[in-house]
Amino acid sequence: MKIVLEHLTKKFPNRNKKVGGFVTAVSDFNIEIPDGKLIGLLGPSGCGKSTALNLICGLEKPTEGHIYFGEDDVTKLQPENRGVGLVFQNYALYPHLTVQQNITFPLENLRGKDKMTKEEMAAKALEAAKLVQIENLMERKPSEMSGGQQQRVAIARALVKRPRVLLLDEPLSNLDARLRLQTREEIRRIQRETGITTIFVTHDQEEAMSISDMIVVMKTGVLQQIGKPQEVYDDPVNLFVAKFLGNPAINVFRGEVKNGKLYIGEEEVMNVGSVSDRPVYVGIRPEGFIPDDNGALTLNLTRVEVMGRDTSVVSTHPAAESETVRSIISAEDAAGIGGETVRFFLKPYKVFLFDTETEERIQFDPEAEENIPLEAAEAAVQNTAE
């Protein structure tokens, strides 16, 4: 089911009555979510992503705007008439009911022509339980199960009515690290098998990037960017998105463009062609560094962290926004690194420029030949190849 959000806005009355007015949790949201995809709604806590989910689900009514499932305007419909399944962050399984009873609970609410017999309900419940592989736990109570199992029951309960849209609120946040990896694969598999358009909320960018078909990045109620995870990572629209995605985080420097050249500190590090002269924020992905003795950017080396396949070079720079600058290079390249300083060439497509006022992205063409001094680049590529 395609989901379209049109100018969706939700304002809450300010809780501090003395201040009054409204807090805007979701502000003028416009997105179109294609049918049958897994969407990660991503943002730091308090950015309005859960509110957005509740609006889609129908637990909250929007202040303005419309929600469409396919061609239907569901803005004014009650949750039960929208055909949504919702998995809560803490699962919200009824503790006094068994797994079986929990899963059949939504079915027992059906009235009129949809009303089911006990046998039909049991069959539906078993089908849902099989999908999430808990069919042997049907007689257990929620308290007798692990977090991961409870999570599955919650998903089965959300799926038993065959919803048009499945919504998951921070589905992995209550699980330990190992279970989290396993469960996210599981969610991916269930979504593939059922083909139900699924939206899940998370503050963990890694989680969102790893399983989503598309991610939606939010900040303080405002949509920042929507796209395939890799596209958003490679082409962030602003500094916030660039900083939010990626682990380790992007390194940000204060820099300046003069005569088509980018300066960090005193050093001229890159040609950025068409960009007019101005101060900029320079974001460099950790994997965007090529170590080279003649490199354009000089960093003060703090330490080298060996992580097996890769090596993480931790260093500092006076113009860096963060305390340390972290670059990830392959272990072979790290061999020559030592001493007080370390020098790097930069991979142009891993470098992003942002306006210092608006923090919006300033585009330049990384393919342009003059970006990197050619000889140095060739040498660097050869180095890497060796």
Binding site: P79, E80, N109
Partner: protein, 296 residues
């Protein structure tokens, strides 16, 4: 006995001592008295040992009246007060404006003195030479005949006693139930809402099971409290409860010890043991029902 369990007993000792001296010993003593015929506390003498005290008490019309009164009181007030308290708590839980005010108002009876409340009830219900009382005025206004609730027919007196008891035990139950309702996580209601659960089903399938431990607690303590009712009856009908026909079991025990017809510790002890047996039985039944439910 190993070292560890010795330590355990040592820690328990103070509690055991106090409970032993002030609870277990008196209980045993009362049990012994109840079999000593014609015990005189002044001279510490008795005639013999036997079941006569029990047979006297069980054949005493005043005692039988007291048992009947107590049972009627228990059977009417415990379910009614719990039910009404639940309704009020649900209401309180759903309103937003003035919630604190209502909570305070509903809690006031709890901090009001029993006898003061009794006085107010007298003004409401008592029929005197000068006035019919407020309730009778109301009955008149609706075209009924006035009833003397304090000195009149048995059902009228029982009605007032039950009314009074329910009114006085309600605040505590409302307090417990509102906090129990507030402790049910909102997320369950959201989950139910997404599934389109009807309000009654939400109440019956979610709210009620979630707060059932508190309801059982209130029913059990309510039963025990109602079986021990005494001061309520005194507040309404004065100290000569036997004459009013409104005595309770505890009232009977008190009268046997200190009342006008008093001075019979043996009979009082026998009556106390009978009361104890009844309360114990009812409580065990209650616990069996509640544990059966929670296991399921």
């Amino acid at each position: 006995m190993d070292n560890k369990s010795m330590k355990g007993w040592l820690y328990l000792l103070p509690a055991i001592l106090f409970l032993g001296v002030f609870m277990v010993y008196p209980l045993i003593d009362v049990f012994v008295y109840s079999f000593e015929e014609g015990y005189n506390s002044a001279s510490q003498t008795f005639f013999g040992i036997g079941k006569y005290n029990y047979s006297y008490v069980l054949h005493d019309t005043y005692f039988l009246q007291a048992v009947k009164n107590t049972f009627i009181l228990v059977i009417i007030t415990v379910p009614l007060s719990t039910g009404i308290a639940l309704l009020i708590s649900l209401g309180l839980n759903h309103i937003k404006p003035l919630k604190e005010l209502f909570q305070t108002v509903y809690f006031l009876p709890y901090v009001t003195n029993t006898l003061a409340v009794g006085l107010v009830f007298m003004i409401f219900f008592k029929k005197t030479a000068y006035s019919d009382g407020m309730i009778n005025l109301l009955i008149h206004a609706f075209g009924g005949n006035s009833v003397d609730f304090i000195d009149g027919p048995y059902w009228a007196k029982m009605f007032v006693l039950c009314f009074y008891t329910i009114w006085i035990v309600m605040p505590f139950k409302i307090l417990i139930l509102t906090s129990a309702l507030a402790s049910v996580s909102k997320v369950y209601y959201n989950a139910a809402k997404v599934d389109g659960t009807r309000p009654f089903r939400i109440f019956y399938k979610i709210t009620l099971p979630m707060i059932s431990p508190m309801i059982f607690y209130l029913v059990i303590t309510g039963f025990i409290g109602a079986f021990k009712a005494y001061s309520d009856a005194v507040a309404l009908f004065g100290t000569d409860l036997n004459a009013a026909g409104m005595n309770t079991m505890v009232g009977y025990i008190y009268d046997m010890l200190y009342g006008n017809s008093g001075g019979y510790p043996s009979y009082a002890s026998a009556a106390a043991i009978i009361l104890f047996a009844i309360v114990l039985t009812i409580t065990v039944i209650n616990l069996m029902i509640s544990s059966k439910r929670s296991v399921k």
